[in-house]
């Protein structure tokens, strides 16, 4: 475990395009039945532009961001010894189908726990606006802040 990880950040990498079928698939996987995840008219009737993602959908994007840290050879984290300790999602606005999302990862805390370590990461997730073509002006708007603590078990834990 590298104690110098605290304060490290990983910039937004690849764009995650939120698709309708992915929202439906994720919703079914968490046994959600709310029509706003499945039916466009139901989502629109609630004032949403498109299908609404379940409250924990952002874990897909957050765990992709976390993978940058876990797979970083400098981090020294053995993924097979990782236990998820806590998780939080703060939604600044709902994620809907059609969103193009990016995540910035921040390592907020690293502390020794027994022979292992507790690592707290935060993903700031933004939606890209504009079509990305020259002159259209791509900007970004905050969508979700996710925080997660993982316990990396030491030997014998």
């Amino acid at each position: 475990m590298n104690p110098d990880l605290q304060g490290r950040s990983y910039p937004a990498a690849e764009v995650y395009d939120v698709g309708r079928e992915k929202i439906r698939e994720f919703a079914r996987a968490v046994k959600a039945t709310h029509p706003a995840h499945f039916d466009l008219e139901a989502a629109k009737a609630l004032g949403h532009r498109d299908l609404v993602a379940p409250p924990t959908f952002a874990i897909i994007i957050a765990q992709r961001a976390d993978a940058q840290l876990i797979e970083d050879p400098e981090s020294g984290i053995d993924f097979s010894r990782v236990v998820h300790a806590d998780q939080r999602f703060i939604h600044h606005r709902p994620i809907v189908a059609g969103d193009r999302l990016v995540a910035e990862l921040h390592v907020d805390g690293v502390r020794a726990m027994g022979g292992g370590a507790m690592i707290t990461t935060r993903s700031e997730i933004f939606v890209l606006t504009g079509d990305g073509t020259a002159g259209s002006g791509v900007s970004r708007e905050a969508v979700s802040t996710t925080t997660s603590s993982i316990l990396v078990r030491g030997e014998g834990q």
């Binding site: 992915k22 698939e25 994720f26 079914r28 996987a29 968490v30 046994k31 959600a32 039945t33 709310h34 029509p35 706003a36 995840h37 499945f38 609630l46 949403h48 609404v52 993602a53 379940p54 409250p55 924990t56 874990i59 897909i60 765990q63 992709r64 993924f79 097979s80 010894r81 236990v83 998820h84 300790a85 806590d86 998780q87 939080r88 999602f89 703060i90 939604h91 709902p94």
Partner: protein, 150 residues
């Protein structure tokens, strides 16, 4: 699949009020589905030999499966999944999911209940505290969802 409900009204709510309960069964197939949908393919959630090899009692559910499934009680009560503006939990105990493939066994049973934990009149939000139990033990602790009412 409609779960039409009448959206709760802030002024009708009181701290401690019950918002209902829900039972969730989870099988190995459910964990495979969640793995595919979420991208979390850690083998402790689908491979018995791997799970026991790292010291677990067997295959366990993703904590994020339980967290994601438990909040459906809140989204259905609120009437709009987008009303959940903040949701957090700690994972304290694993949900053991034995292989019931090809049997009549329903899978592991997770029981979820919710109550109003706090009201914030200025923000127009209500905090729902969830109790999530498997095999007589709380598997999520401090499971709290903040709902913004229209």
């Amino acid at each position: 699949m409609s779960t039409a409900s009448i959206a709760p009204v802030f002024t009708d709510l009181t701290v401690g009020q019950d918002i209902g309960s829900r039972s969730i069964t989870v099988t190995r197939q459910d964990l495979v589905k969640y793995a595919g949908a979420s991208g979390d393919f850690n083998p402790i959630h689908w491979n018995e030999a791997f799970a026991t090899g790292v010291g677990l009692p067997g295959v366990i559910a993703h904590g994020m499966f339980t967290m994601g499934a438990a909040v459906q009680l809140v989204t259905d009560w609120a009437g709009d999944p987008a009303a959940v503006v903040d949701y957090q939990t700690r994972f304290t105990k694993p949900v053991l999911v034995t292989d019931t493939t090809g049997t009549e066994e329903p899978g592991a049973l997770i029981e979820v209940s919710g109550a109003v934990g706090a009201l914030d009149a200025d923000a127009g939000t209500v905090r729902v505290d969830l109790t999530v139990v498997y095999a007589g033990q709380k598997v999520l602790v401090k499971a709290q969802a903040v709902v913004r009412l229209a």
